[in-house]
Amino acid sequence: MTLAIMGIAIVVLLFFRVPIAFAILGPCYCYLWYTEQSLGSGLRVAAQGVNSWPLLAVPLFVLVGVSATRAGIADRLFDFALAMVGRVRGSLGYVNIGVSVGFSWMSGSALADAAGLGSVEVPAMRKRGYPARFAVGLSGASSAIGPIMPPSIPAIVYAAVAVVSTGALFAASVVPAFLLAIALAITVYIWARKREELRTERFSMAVLGRTFVRASGAMLTPVIILGGILGGLFTPTEAAAIAAVYMLLLGFIYRTVKPRDLFGIFRDTVMTTASIMIILAASTLLGWILAREQVPQTVADAIFSFTDNKVVFLLLVNVFLLLFGAIIEPTSALVISVPILLPIAMEFGIDPIHFGVIVILNLMIGLLTPPMGGVVFVLSSVTGIPIADVFRGVSPFLIPLIAVLMVVTFVPELALWLPSLVNL
């Protein structure tokens, strides 16, 4: 009963615009007071949620993303991708996806990708005759690649919550991220095949060479991050620190970042990090209360009484997470749902790394769907395209995204092949 009241209070506070972290912390505090927990236990548990070594990768990868944005990496990747496939019909659609894949190696947040890349890609596509809805829809869908391809902030959070290897989860996410890119490219191909007018740029080897040189520095980042982790040179947190320094150096070399910009870059990183981590702290306290009230066991009993079929369970998990991700912010959704669902998934024999990829894919698709759709609102804000049009633009791209989700869910080898190859 107490738990039900707490849940209702959280929903009501969220609806009345109370910031997510405080909407969770408030009812949790009341629960602690009502159940006569020792003074300070709430703050101690919340603080433990962020006092974690694997989570140190979050601010550092955010720093990589902010530095890459300031260094103008998106423009360089865009020019290179355009020089490569500009002659192809619907080329800017492929460029959009290619730039998202390239930038995803430097950024692990869909909202940051949507903001940073959307402001470059959508105007460029509209200028060359692409419909606004298609441009913004594709930009939204391709931004989902960012938090799936390593470095991924949700992967770091999942690894911390599920106590699994961040490096293994990074490796497991590579193939699904490329599958997303391929599925989106197929969608672009189908859409563009009868649109001859969308064949814009002439191919030039000289331009390709020049833009490759301009983008080559940025393209080394995945070598540092994934190469360092998979090669056993660094932990993910250390790789994040080295990539952050490398990205700042690139900014200085490109003369797009000056020493006086450093304070702004660090401040922006701190604010983005803190807005994620305080939700994580609050969600940790909520997760602790749910565990104390034996909610995971109750949910497990309910599920096992309903089905003992792994396929049905995975379908149920997908439907639940898609709906949950559509109505709640991904970090909270992850921290609240994983401690409940993961033990059940493991009972069904599902690998926790594979389950992590499924959870992250679901929650990232949730960023594109109503009513919350964080990516949609960011894109509307940076492009000036009405929110309803962005939602309409994104909706056709949900089909390839959900198709990839289903393939990854039911073919675990796609996720587990690379980690097993490198013994993670």
């Binding site: 969220l14 972290a21 003074l39 940073g116 620190a241």
Partner: protein, 177 residues
């Protein structure tokens, strides 16, 4: 809908709230201090992690305290800028209700939300004080930092957020956002 300023906008002077009377400059100084401390803590995290890599590949030996100090820095960073984020509406919140309300209704909801945040923060300040007293004399295992210090910074962060939340509705002018 999830509302949060984009990375590019976060922390800039654009969209910064304006305050009535003499309070403006005071709040500005507090905001600058919060942002500066946050940036310093991030720098500390970066340096500690890099130091850890360096000592591993050199014969300098293990510096176990670097990892611990980096973790504490992130904990402090998270809470010390909570007030800054609140003052600039940069905490992640769900603003779907705005679509159903008039401008006056939206203002009332914002005031309600701020008062809730203030009350929650006061509760956690009380928690923090209790925890600091309870942890007095205990030190962290590697860096030997007093545990009371560990919880002091979040308590200060909650206190600064509470002040911002409780005075905001009365002294803050409508922001440019």
């Amino acid at each position: 809908m999830v509302e949060q300023e984009t990375v590019a906008e976060a922390g800039t002077t654009e969209g910064a709230p304006a305050y009535r009377g003499r309070l403006g400059p005071v709040v500005r100084v507090i905001e600058y201090a919060e942002a500066a401390i946050g940036a310093l803590l991030l720098t500390a995290i970066l340096v500690m992690i890099l130091a850890q890599v360096i000592v591993r590949v050199t014969p300098l030996g293990g510096w176990v305290w670097t990892g611990e100090l980096a973790r504490f820095s992130m904990l402090w960073l998270t809470f010390i800028v909570a007030g800054y984020l609140l003052g600039r509406d940069q905490h992640v919140s769900i603003s779907i209700i705005d679509h159903f309300l008039s401008a006056r209704g939206q203002r009332m909801v914002k005031v309600f939300a701020q008062l809730v945040v203030g009350a929650v923060c006061l509760g956690f300040v009380y928690e923090g004080v209790g925890l600091i007293e309870a942890q007095a004399g205990i030190r962290s295992s590697a860096a030997r930092i007093p545990n009371s210090m560990l919880y002091l910074v979040p308590t200060i962060g909650f206190a600064l957020t509470a002040v911002r939340a409780l005075i905001g509705p009365f002294v803050r002018k409508e922001s440019s956002r």
